[in-house]
Assembly symmetry: C2
Homo-oligomer: 242 residues x 2
DNA sequence: CTCGGTAATTGGGTCGTACCAATTTTCTAA
DNA sequence: TTAGAAAATTGGTACGACCCAATTACCGAG
């Protein structure tokens, strides 16, 4: 699969962790791993660093490297590791069938805010795409996206009725790998209540933010209003990164 | 401050970015930086990698390294970089005065769920700490925390009325650097409405999760119910990390 | 048997080299 | 003039050496 040395080490270690091959939760030291995998210690360190960043292992200088007990006990919670930025993908994990209903699709001039977020000029235009996402017939999310037409001049209602990210990867061979998102809670408004079958006392979770292409080009500004029972945003934070 | 080579490079580059010393958004190539800073290219790469992970710069092989335009335009959004896991600290940034009111403080047997999350035995006990946090007299958060007594046998009402994380760092020289959090939205219940002055239609944001010590020991299980107007959870994600 | 110093273990940081891969620039030939 | 090949530029991966720092293990003196 992966032809990179450190990724191979990573994958094998993850496999061994999942197979519970380290019953005392302790991994071999870096020098031994370097020897047994027949790779440099640098590559071992790199593999371990990534696993540590993902919260799967903990490293303690002078002491050793250990598996996060929570990773073993509650892998479901850590499922964000098969992670993705696209919404279509994240929903499939539940085992339910996702579907998309196109509510609105038009081209509008970029507002000042959009100009700033998408790095556009005053005379640029954007697609405005409103979609309703469901899981097994149950509407769960109202999504409003804005994409500069100059990035995707060929966007059609057909494409927009499916996964835009998948289309990008399959047809244009670029992928969206970065995002900056804000998560908030809000009371549901009339539209939310109608489309998501919510009572007035039931809220929506709001995820909004910007998706970037590999090269840093801001690609889409998105706003998602989510049925509160279906929003669960998981995040592992490790401050040691700097 | 920092006596590490790559951190020094990082800080200086960040300073130069903030000073807008790269008007074309392009940084010098790695080899030049290595020469001008008189450090190895490895250290330059490490510094750049961290900045990239934080979303401050983008790297493109064959092309160069560029400042994220959004970082310049909207630094407020990226303020998570002066980041922290503690709640006391995060609130101070608003310029408002945080305060804590202790609602409840007792020792209880660890529930099965707590045993799992905190890696405890059936006969272990935990502190249960309920606190109400305010900003400038405005109540914004109901916080319920559980801490194993065997980790902090000396916990007192005095300590618990302030920042526990600060106490830990100042007095025991350990710091909390990792967390696994889940963010959700929920309708407010009677208690929420009373303590946070919410109407029945107004929701709370719920942040719950586990804090870890440096060595991976689960330290605290926390549940925070936050006035929806005061919850704003920012997160930059970069899938290139693996 | 216990305490305390010393050695061994283990992860962390830095340097420098070598080569690879994607992109951009330059040059050459039609 | 221009299209395509070649070279230069620029970041990516890998290796291995060297030393440091935190922790643990060990061993001897008392």
């Amino acid at each position: 699969m992966a032809d990179l040395v450190y990724k191979n080490v990573m994958q094998d270690l993850k496999r061994r962790i999942n197979d519970n091959q380290f019953p005392d939760k302790r991994l071999p030291d870096e020098r031994s791993l370097s020897e047994s995998y027949e790779v440099s210690r640098s590559s071992v360190k790199r593999a371990l660093n990534v696993l540590a960043q993902q919260g799967i292992i903990f490293k303690k200088r002078g002491s050793g490297t250990f598996v996060n007990p929570l990773y073993i006990k509650n892998q479901a919670v850590f499922s964000y590791e098969g992670r993705n930025l696209g919404v279509t993908d994240s929903m499939r994990v539940d085992g339910k069938k996702p579907s998309i209903k196109l509510l609105d699709f038009q081209v509008i001039p970029a507002t000042p805010e959009l100009q700033q977020d998408l790095f556009l000029n005053a005379d640029d235009f954007v697609y405005q795409i409103k979609r309703l996402r469901s899981l097994d017939q149950q509407p769960v999310m109202i999504e409003t996206g804005f994409i500069p037409i100059k990035i995707m001049p060929e966007l059609s209602t057909t494409v927009v009725s499916g996964s835009i990210f998948n289309y990008l990867e399959d047809n244009k061979h670029v992928s969206v790998t970065k995002s900056f998102m804000t998560v908030e809670a809000e009371p549901s408004d009339d539209k939310d209540q109608e489309l998501l079958s919510l009572k007035p006392t039931e809220p929506v979770g709001v995820m909004s933010g910007i998706f970037f292409l590999d090269d840093g080009t801001p690609f889409e500004v998105s706003n998602m209003r989510i049925h509160y029972k279906y929003m669960k945003y998981n995040n592992f934070v490790d401050l040691d990164a700097d």
